[in-house]
């Protein structure tokens, strides 16, 4: 009776990372059928605190963790659901990631992948969220020191804000797409605290020039730039697994030098376009509109954006 217009296997579109749910990202990123969730939704390990605020809970508290395979390689993986409470860190949400990173210390996977999609700390559980972020950062550093790379993937609608941005800065490598944003204070927070003169959060183009994927990739904050598809993120993660920097004094001294140099070179820049111009981009105004291919070509021509200093 009803005709089936869509064949799910042959959709006209590749799955958009930005649009996909955390579970859909995991599905598409890992080898088919390889994901094994720990503390799945059926266990109903929900936030003990949200009911106090009369807020709905999610079965997985917006954090999905488990193991899987990436082109056959064993990996541990965590994904934040950016649409639930803005992907923010609460007690259960954070503890699941802490547990996964601690598990990795024993399991020694080829990598731990963190699929960021977060506004930062969940205010209703702020102290738990903030502490969990500190625990996560310590665990990541321990893992890296033990030789397990931690790779962050950023391209969700909530970005990687607040403590999420700090965790991202702790990872061995970051993949970012155009839509991905990495920042500590969000545009609205800056505007609320310092006024629209400082930051007009409604100027979306400005938001992306300041903290969006292309800017972060151009300045070396992120290591790889992916198209907004799950397939592209998978490929980028695979490419990075084999070449991650060690966590040692030499790396951090190199990072210190890199960050000091950034301050020296761009300290007086008011806009992303000024920074890109100093990096040697001929037509900085055109950068936001560049296709992935054109942007990749631009990156290749600049060279210095790729480094091991993180």
């Amino acid at each position: 009776m009803s005709e089936r217009i869509i064949d799910p296997a042959a959709k006209g579109w590749a799955t958009s990372w930005y649009e996909a749910s955390a579970r859909a990202r995991l599905d598409g990123l890992l080898d088919a059928g390889s994901f094994r969730e720990v503390i799945g939704p059926e266990q109903r390990q929900m936030s003990p605190h949200l009911p106090l605020f009369d807020l709905p809970r999610a079965f997985d508290d917006g954090m999905i963790v488990g193991s899987g395979r990436l082109d056959g390689k064993p990996v541990l993986i965590a994904a934040q659901e950016g649409r639930f409470m803005g992907g923010a860190f609460g007690e259960v949400h954070g503890a699941k990631l802490v547990g996964l990173l601690r598990a990795a210390l024993a399991l020694k996977p080829d990598a731990v992948l963190i699929l960021f999609d977060t506004g930062g700390v969940r205010l209703q559980e702020a102290n738990a969220g903030e502490t969990a972020i500190a625990e996560v950062m310590r665990a990541i550093v321990q893992l890296r020191a033990a030789g397990v790379p931690v790779i962050g993937l950023i391209g969700g609608r909530a970005g990687a804000y607040g403590g999420g941005g700090l965790i991202a800065g702790t990872c061995s490598r970051l993949v970012v797409s155009e839509g991905g944003r990495i920042s500590v204070s969000g545009p609205e927070v800056i505007e609320t605290n310092k006024g629209a003169e400082e930051f007009d959060s409604r100027d979306r183009a400005l938001v992306w020039r300041t903290m969006g994927g292309k800017h972060r990739r151009l300045t070396g904050s992120a290591d790889a730039y992916a198209d907004d598809t799950v397939a592209a993120f998978r490929q980028a993660a695979l490419d990075l697994i084999g070449r991650t920097p060690a966590f040692d004094l030499a790396t951090l001294e190199a990072e210190q030098a890199r960050l000091e140099q950034r301050l020296t070179r761009f300290s007086d820049c008011r806009d992303g376009t000024e920074i890109w111009a100093r990096l040697g981009v001929n037509d900085p105004e055109a950068v936001p509109a560049l296709t992935t291919a054109a942007f990749d070509a631009l990156l290749a021509s600049l060279g210095e954006t790729t480094h091991d200093a993180r």
Partner: protein
């Protein structure tokens, strides 16, 4: 002195007074207040140009700064109450009486002021209706309009947002009125002459470009599965069924979804060339994929849309453009085109009652409907047939001589049964009636009257009101698509099933549509960025719609 020529003399006196603040016709932004105080007389009828898109905002600010001791009791006759200044002048006593058409963001404030008696209201018109009155009994003494550029002789280039300007100027300049135009810049030579200089008395070089609201930009990223399902039903159950070629769309997400399904879903149904070829429509960014896929033959526009100018310029095969290459829009003509030359209007609303009356007015907001009541009405003066029009006429006809049958325009409401905050779209009684009572309106602000509506599309199905033969059938047909609202749950299930047998109520499955197929992957574009790609980089969306 003879009794004739007084108006002309009065006009000459106003212009003479204004010249003191001008160099020729040119006035600086700093002198706007002085100019307006010189040319305006208490009690004047004034058209301050502004509609749902462009605004003569520099002149609005100037008018609001006039001294109420000198300028007072004005009668504002204008399309839109949109800027805060449009209402400030009533609070200050500069204006007293109002005849208008559309109020978007100021809807709540205008309701409070009407209730408080700060505004003496004439009527809430449709655009076309107000334009008509400009030529009969609401002719402006002074028109304050907006354009992109002018030369020193006053030759005016309106830019792509021509909109109401020719109509306003026509009524004012040819009936002894004074026309003041604000422009973004004074140039030696305008790109094209939209209004000849002899109709413009003063040109104000504005302090900043006039404001245009990107009202017709719908972000595909915000489109839901429910809206996609409704769009699928509309395409298959109405567009395909009636072979709709000439049409107008409202500004909602449901109709934007239809636009984005043309190159995908409708293409797979083999409808290309059969439907949606000729439009009276603003340049909706969501129409870009259909245009690029060869679906669209021609589009005439009420106004332009922010960011679409370059695209339109490169697609003059589709749009109306001037010799300079840029869009020429015209609200009066496009409204007329929508009224008489389109076979279908489809748009959304906030409330529908059991008879099918609808309104976007709620208890605390006087929205004003702009063009929707004209688009959403069956023009009894139409005399040319089309297959669509005749088919609808046949469905509606019950009695009388078939040789005297005339067609019907299709007027479709596409609504989700629940709106924002779980507010039901179907109600026993429109809030508009309560509002009319509260503020003493003689005519309740109904957007589309029941006798003009032919179909209602919701996520539950399509109700074909043309086929209803009794008021009871009509009510049950409406209840039959009202979903889980109280109205919907109050249906006579058996009767709705009988209506379904007759094709008056049609469910997705009756149309061969599986609701679970209503997936975002059907959209030709899923983001504003996709629209930019479809346009080959020609579409330049406003910053607030970007995420790159």
């Amino acid at each position: 002195m003879s009794g004739w020529g007084r108006e002309r003399a009065a006009r000459d006196a106003r212009i003479e007074a204004g010249r003191a603040h001008a160099a020729g016709k040119v006035v600086t932004a700093a002198d706007v207040v002085a100019l307006l105080e010189a040319i305006l007389q208490p009690g004047d009828r004034v058209c301050l140009e502004g509609d749902n898109q462009k605004q003569a905002d520099c002149l609005a600010r100037g008018l609001s700064q006039c001294d109420p001791a000198r300028v007072h009791d004005l009668h504002m006759v204008q399309s839109g109450i949109v800027l805060p200044e449009h209402l400030d002048i009533f609070e200050q006593g500069i204006a007293r009486r109002l005849d208008y058409s559309y109020s978007g963001p100021q809807g709540a404030r205008i309701a409070r002021m009407l209730y408080g008696g700060q505004i003496e209201l004439g009527a809430v018109h449709t655009y076309l209706e107000l334009f008509a009155r400009y030529f009969v009994d609401l002719t402006p003494n002074v028109a304050l309009i907006a354009g992109v550029s002018a030369d020193r002789d006053g030759n005016l280039y309106t830019g792509p947002n021509t909109e109401d300007t020719p109509t306003v100027v026509e009524a004012t300049a040819f009936k002894n009125g004074v026309v003041v135009a604000q422009v973004n810049e004074i140039v030696d030579r305008v790109p094209r002459v939209d209004i000849p200089g002899d109709r413009i008395d003063f040109v104000v070089e504005a302090d900043r470009p006039f404001y245009v609201e990107p009202l017709f930009t719908r972000d595909p990223a915000a489109m839901t599965e429910t809206q996609i399902l409704m769009a699928m039903m509309a395409i298959k159950g109405i567009y395909a069924e009636y072979g709709i070629r000439r049409l107008n769309h409202g500004i909602g997400f449901g109709t934007a979804a239809i636009e984005l399904l043309l190159p995908t879903y409708a293409e797979r149904l083999g409808l290309k060339g059969q439907i949606a070829t000729h439009w009276a429509l603003n340049p909706h960014p969501t129409l870009i994929p259909a245009i690029e896929s060869g679906w669209v033959k021609q589009v005439h526009c009420f106004g332009s849309e922010v960011g679409m100018d370059r695209y339109i310029r490169e697609r003059s095969d589709i749009f109306f453009t001037g010799a300079d290459g840029s869009l020429r829009s015209n609200r009066a003509f496009c409204q007329t085109a929508g009224l008489y030359a389109c076979d279908l209007f489809i748009g959304s609303t906030l409330q529908i009652d059991l008879a099918g009356h609808s309104s976007t007015v709620t208890q605390n907001r006087v929205a004003g409907f702009g063009g929707a009541p004209n688009m959403g009405s069956d023009p009894h003066g139409r005399r040319h047939p089309s297959d669509t029009w005749m088919k609808a006429g046949r469905e509606a006809q019950v009695t009388g001589d078939p040789a005297l049958m005339r067609g019907r325009k299709l007027v479709v409401q596409i609504v989700e049964t629940f709106g924002e905050g779980l507010v039901p779209a179907f109600v026993e009684r429109l809030d508009a009636l309560e509002l009319a009572r509260k503020i003493g309106l003689e005519l309740a602000p109904v957007m589309v009257y029941a006798d003009d509506v032919t179909h209602i599309v919701t996520e539950e199905g399509i109700a074909n009101l043309l086929l209803c033969r009794t008021a009871d059938e009509r009510e049950q047909a409406i209840r039959g698509v009202a979903g889980y609202t109280e109205i919907g749950r109050g249906r006579d299930r058996a009767m709705v099933e009988r209506l379904r047998q007759r094709g008056i109520v049609r469910r997705p499955e009756d149309l061969g549509i599986e609701p679970l197929d209503a997936d975002r992957s059907l959209l030709a574009a899923r983001s504003i960025k996709d629209l930019v790609h479809w346009s080959g980089g020609l579409y330049e969306p406003p910053a607030k719609f970007r995420n790159w």
